[in-house]
């Protein structure tokens, strides 16, 4: 009975986080982007600085008609948003936000492999959407999504492997237990590679070639309306939460902080995640979209060599300090 209650409670908390954090990041994006561009952003919904704008958006999406194009492959078209969204829910289960076993949804022995594997599955949703829409812009978006995933999966894995080597374990809580402050400068190259590759995998600007709205409308999501479209948007923001949380855990020390590491560890995790999410939004406002060939070039000629160099450095330091 106690076990069942414990599991239910954990699942419930993860689910609530999954439903609220992406919305908070979405609202922050509205306001931060607006102020960076000299606008006010949403001001009316909910009264105080438009805090309820995304709730209103959700209601609007729910009211819209759910259209499936006549030429589309119905079942796959309808299944795609779920395939895109659910993996992020599963990944959230494995991210520890504080010390000890109480602060993680589920301790997984091969945690790094679990999160990277399941995140990769999410891209299948975009591919299914791009193909099943029977729309040439969607198909182009799907192709670009696949090409981007294939290019950026490798540096992301290599950067994560570097941390695993440093910690001597592939479990996420294990990595945090082994963390020392000087890992920060030691693994900084890997951290940047991981974060950039993760951004590219989420198709966030400046890596949003697959959904480039000024040339292929909205890529794989062109034909989607109503709730299913909202699910894809939610997947993008859930992806930001997951990526920032993972970068925090792997490279920034998670719940470690200058003070109060015992009781307030989770505050540090959330703070670091929030700062990273702010950087994600900042990058979107700052940089223009990379062209398809520039995207590929960045990955294969810069990120992959950098991550390999990071692995070499990790190996050398690891041998020297033993």
């Amino acid at each position: 009975m106690n076990d069942a209650l414990d599991v239910t409670l954990r699942l419930l908390i993860v689910f609530v986080v999954f439903l609220t954090f992406p919305l908070i990041i979405g609202q922050t994006e509205h306001k931060v982007m607006a102020h960076m561009q000299g606008r006010l952003g949403p001001m009316y919904a909910g009264g105080f600085h438009g805090w309820a704008q995304l709730v209103a958006d959700g209601v609007k999406f729910a009211q819209k008609e759910d259209v499936v194009p006549a030429g589309a492959d119905r079942r796959i078209f309808q299944l795609a948003p779920a395939v895109a969204l659910l993996p992020y829910l599963l990944v959230l289960l494995a991210i520890p936000i504080g010390p000890g076993e109480g602060a993680v949804g589920e301790v997984i022995d091969a945690g790094i492999f679990f999160v990277l594997a399941v995140m990769g599955v999410g891209v299948l949703g975009s591919l299914m959407a791009g193909w099943a829409s029977a729309n040439k812009f969607s198909l182009l978006g799907g192709l670009r999504t696949a090409a981007q995933l294939l290019a950026y999966e490798l540096p992301m894995l290599l950067a994560a492997a570097s941390v695993a080597m440093a910690a001597g374990t592939v479990s996420l809580p294990g990595i945090l237990d082994a963390f020392e402050w000087w890992w920060l400068p030691w693994q900084i190259v890997g951290a940047i590679v991981f974060f950039v590759a993760g951004l590219a995998e989420l198709q966030r600007p400046p890596f949003d070639m697959p959904v480039a709205d000024s040339e292929i409308i909205f890529g794989a999501y062109t034909e989607y309306t109503g709730l299913r479209f909202a699910l894809f948007l939610l997947a993008e923001y859930a992806g930001i939460v997951v990526l920032c949380g993972l970068t925090t855990v792997l490279f920034l020390g998670g719940w470690h902080g200058p003070l109060g590491a015992d009781g307030l560890g989770w505050v540090w995790t959330l703070l670091k995640t929030a700062v990273l999410a702010f950087i994600v939004i900042w990058l979107r406002v700052t940089y223009p979209r990379l062209r398809e060939d520039q995207l590929q070039k960045l990955s294969w000629t810069l990120l992959v060599p950098l991550s390999l160099a990071q692995i070499a450095l990790t190996g050398v330091v690891k041998v020297v300090i033993q």
């Binding site: 492959d73 990769g120 891209v123 591919l127 040439k136 294939l150 060939d293």
Partner: protein, 239 residues
Amino acid sequence: MTLAATAGLLAAGPAPVAATETHGFLSPTGVEIAFLLVGLVTFGAALVTVTTRQLVHAALWLVVTLGGLAVEYLLLTAEFIAWVQVLIYVGSVVVLLLFGLMLTRAPIGRSPDADSGNRWAALAVAVAAAGTLIWVVVDAFRTTWIDLDGPAAGSTKATGESLFQNWVLPFEALSVLLLAALVGAIVLSRKAKAESDSPSVNSRPVTGSSPSVPDSRNHPIGRNGSAEGTEPSEQEGAR
């Protein structure tokens, strides 16, 4: 690789039957029942993968098959292998497959040329391969049982230790094989690029951008246009 994978998938279905029959036959545990059910689902998905006439559906059923296999690994406590299976096969190999399909031909609805005259020969080969694998697995592991209450037999630590202590030589041989494939891929792609470079320099004035840009961009659009063009007639034929 595909053949071996398919044979492996085919073997995954019937194998648990033999396992449950020899042990816990009268009172199977929950894990054994789950293993059997997942095995049946995996087997069914594998069958659909090779028999469906819609190409992209076949690739997506392959996702179910490979995912089911990963669940089987999990139930056998081989957690590390399970996640690597998801990472490599579901996350990369199937994406590559879908990419290739979408880049060349992936009509919505049935593909008229998805059927082959070799289906009986393929069935014979598949059954023979599955029979061999089942026989080998059953013969090798007949009396081996995993203690679910003890330390996980397939944890990352256990897998790593056995890989790098008992199986270093095959591991290194595989590494060399993969390295050779990698070098081969680079050599092939460089040769193709050198050949395609010379006409494009003649036909186009130098614009300052890299020559690979127009190639990689025009290609999918042109192919896509022709694929779209053939779609309606095929769909009308199907309905």
